[in-house]
Symmetry: C2
Subunit: 190 residues, 2 copies
């Protein structure tokens, strides 16, 4: 998606060690017009597989997932990292190692909102190591739901996430694919 | 907003002690069409005061704030509760007591995305005790920004937040105003 790539090229910051700072338009400040365009494009790529629910993880997955779900016309569920008091005692919970934080985080979904009849599209801001998305996939499988696809705004291929997710046998779409961030560069796949 | 009130009446759950569970369409699962309608309505009510930025707090403020910002055509910043590694060392930080969690949480905004030239509209899912919104107002003031309004999806008047925010002298808009949740009821203002 050209508008996204241009924005990453002009405003993204390569902080080293593979860390891409996009806090100005995705992760802390959000450009809602850009995010809406990303959501529409992800929806366009996945509409034919008829998702009935979008699944993401709080926090930074919420904005792209809401925009994708809006374009698809289906509900979106975000996995919580802490169990709120409104959640039932019996939940789906999995642990996902966080690369950037160096710890494992819990991903929790209430069975009220993820069921066996759902066709689940996983959406997230980044595909890096793939561990968060793999965790979301485990939650969907625990619920007996059918996984139908994975869509992300930005993929960093050099962190190997696509290989980690390959065994799921799902279509994976990324709107901007970054292949190299060595020496301060930000190199796109095409 | 009638569609919202009908949804709260049909799907909201009064868990007692003033806790309203709206996890099925706002706080865990999100109905993006309803949220978009809420965002458009909040934008309609505040467009005349010309906000240049929407400010909210992660996590559950993000969806309504993104939809409001999309309708207004301005960026949205969500205050973080933990400082990510992409954030500079010097930040705006305030503590906000969390009524439902019984602890204080940090609200953190990078000076990169909140400046003195901004006209800030605060958006959140709930106005209850008002403490989170008051914290966001402190962050905006620390940045030297001009606060122009406060908009929420649901207000619970019996927790006194509107009185807490009154000294700010700002217009406050709520799309659904709940006045009483005693005895399992959910009573709206009109």
């Amino acid at each position: 998606m050209e508008a996204l790539k241009r924005r990453i090229q002009s405003e993204g910051k390569n902080l080293g060690r593979g860390i891409l700072k996009v806090d100005g338009f995705i992760n802390h400040q959000v450009d809602p017009q850009l995010m809406d365009a990303c959501g529409r494009e992800l929806a366009r790529r996945f509409a034919h597989i008829r998702p009935t629910k979008v699944l993401t993880a709080e926090i930074s997955g919420i904005a792209p997932a809401v925009c994708t779900a809006l374009a698809l016309g289906v509900p979106i569920v975000y996995a919580r990292k802490q169990r709120p008091i409104t959640m039932p005692d019996q939940v789906y919970l999995t642990l996902a190692p966080s690369h950037t934080k160096g710890i494992s985080v819990e991903l929790i979904v209430s069975p009220e909102y993820l069921g066996a009849a759902e066709r689940v599209l996983i959406i997230d801001d980044f595909l890096a190591t793939g561990q968060t998305i793999l965790g979301l996939a485990r939650l969907a499988k625990a619920a007996g739901a059918t996984l139908v696809g994975i869509g992300v705004v930005i993929e960093k291929t050099f962190e190997g996430g696509r290989d980690v997710l390959q065994p799921l046998g799902l279509p994976i779409e990324a709107l901007a694919i970054i292949t190299d961030m060595r020496d301060g560069k930000i190199v796109f796949a095409d």
